[in-house]
Symmetry: C2
Subunit: 249 residues, 2 copies
């Protein structure tokens, strides 16, 4: 680890000040992107990393804690430091803010309606920064909880990131875990745009509701640790017994 961070006064036109722990943080993030450690494997402890990077253990600690806050790493006292994993359980709480008005949240089961390679719709290409000639995998699903279909999803994945996806014999419910383990793309951040819309004839039919009933519509773009935009998702969902929950502070 290079310690020029504090020599800005000797290079006033150089890059702006970056604290050492930030440099360590970026470096570790880069090592994760480069797959230096396997999923589920324990990272070296603070002293070993400190030695490798030629900084103090305290600086490594600060960097690792920052990565933990950003949900990149998970640390367990007495055990070690691990790369954060998309399990079914944390999928529910981290990226699925749809909760029933009454009772416990549960993960909806999924049924694939359609899976194919398509010309990329203009809006999708725009939001995923795809070129005109790049194709996408199109996956449509309907999802149900307690026997009631409540969610319809149209999912678009750039072909370049998901080679062979259309030939998958089985698409699991928890897609982000699947992306992470099978395709080595770990969703790090999502952005949802939420609107209210009226149910189309087709959606109404699939959901078992009336045309022009109100639906929540989310448009999501998902980004990986290394900044790749790997998923565009448009979700319509009933909100008569569910709501989208947002806590701010």
């Amino acid at each position: 680890m290079n310690k020029t961070a504090f020599k800005n006064k000797f290079s006033p036109n150089g890059p702006s000040f970056q604290p050492l722990y930030k440099q360590v943080e970026d470096h570790v993030r880069q090592l994760i992107i480069e797959q230096r450690w396997k999923l589920g494997e324990v990272l070296p402890n603070e002293f070993k990393l400190a030695e490798e990077f030629n900084v103090s253990q305290g600086t490594v600690r600060k960097a690792l804690n920052c990565l933990t806050e950003a949900n990149v790493l998970e640390r367990k006292q007495g055990v070690g430091t691990f790369i954060s994993e998309h399990t079914e359980k944390n999928a529910l709480y981290r990226f699925f803010p749809l909760v029933p008005d009454e009772g416990e949240t549960e993960l909806p089961s999924s049924e694939v309606l359609s899976l194919s390679i398509q010309i990329t719709p203009k809006k999708v290409a725009e939001d995923l920064h795809l070129k005109a000639n790049e194709e996408v995998i199109y996956l449509a699903r309907k999802r149900e909880v307690k026997g009631e279909i409540c969610i319809l999803e149209d999912i678009y994945l750039p072909v370049k990131y998901f080679k062979g996806f259309v030939d998958e014999p089985e698409i699991p419910d928890t897609l982000y875990h699947f992306y992470q383990t099978k395709y080595l793309h770990s969703v790090q951040e999502t952005s949802d745009k939420i609107k209210a819309v009226l149910a189309s004839t087709e959606d109404a039919k699939l959901l078992g509701i009336n045309e022009n009933d109100p639906l929540l519509m989310f448009t999501r773009v998902a980004k990986t640790l290394d900044g790749k935009l790997i998923e565009y998702r448009q979700t319509r969902c009933r909100s008569d017994n569910y709501h989208y929950l947002v806590n701010l502070n």
Copy 2:
């Protein structure tokens, strides 16, 4: 500051382990609740607080940084530590996630439609934990951006926390700043439940849209630093040119 935190082994049935910095954090939070420092006033620096609490400066630092992350405090290098304030600018970004599909976010202007004391609706009493005989102030507003009315709000405030509110000659746009400066209630945390609904006849009229057009409906409960539930708010808003934005990570 009492340092029994690390003597748990001597009181195995005592309270569970609390690190010193957490104790300092809670203590400072309590001091803020008790109005020890005025809004806008600078807090004592780390060394002075450390001396007062009989802990090291590093421990105070950790506590203050935790409070900063929780948006309770704001720290400015070279200046000092302050109690976080609800300004017009941060109101926009912290508690107003409604953004236009195109262009910059701006704060909608507000017009009061109604202001009175009312019997508390059952749902409001439930969510704000009010007793049956406690009354609320009811405030209805319509809000517009660029000449277009896009938001209707029904706001309910417990009378006990907002004495004299109905006689206010002027209700400003940024309510949370108003609550904080005039009534000394600082909103710390909100919880929004979002649904899609159809516009009622009345809402449609006020918004200048058709009955049964789709609207986003948020139901919000706002909580202060000391855990008081001070506001119930039901918002309906057009989402044809706006969306509710949620970033997860």
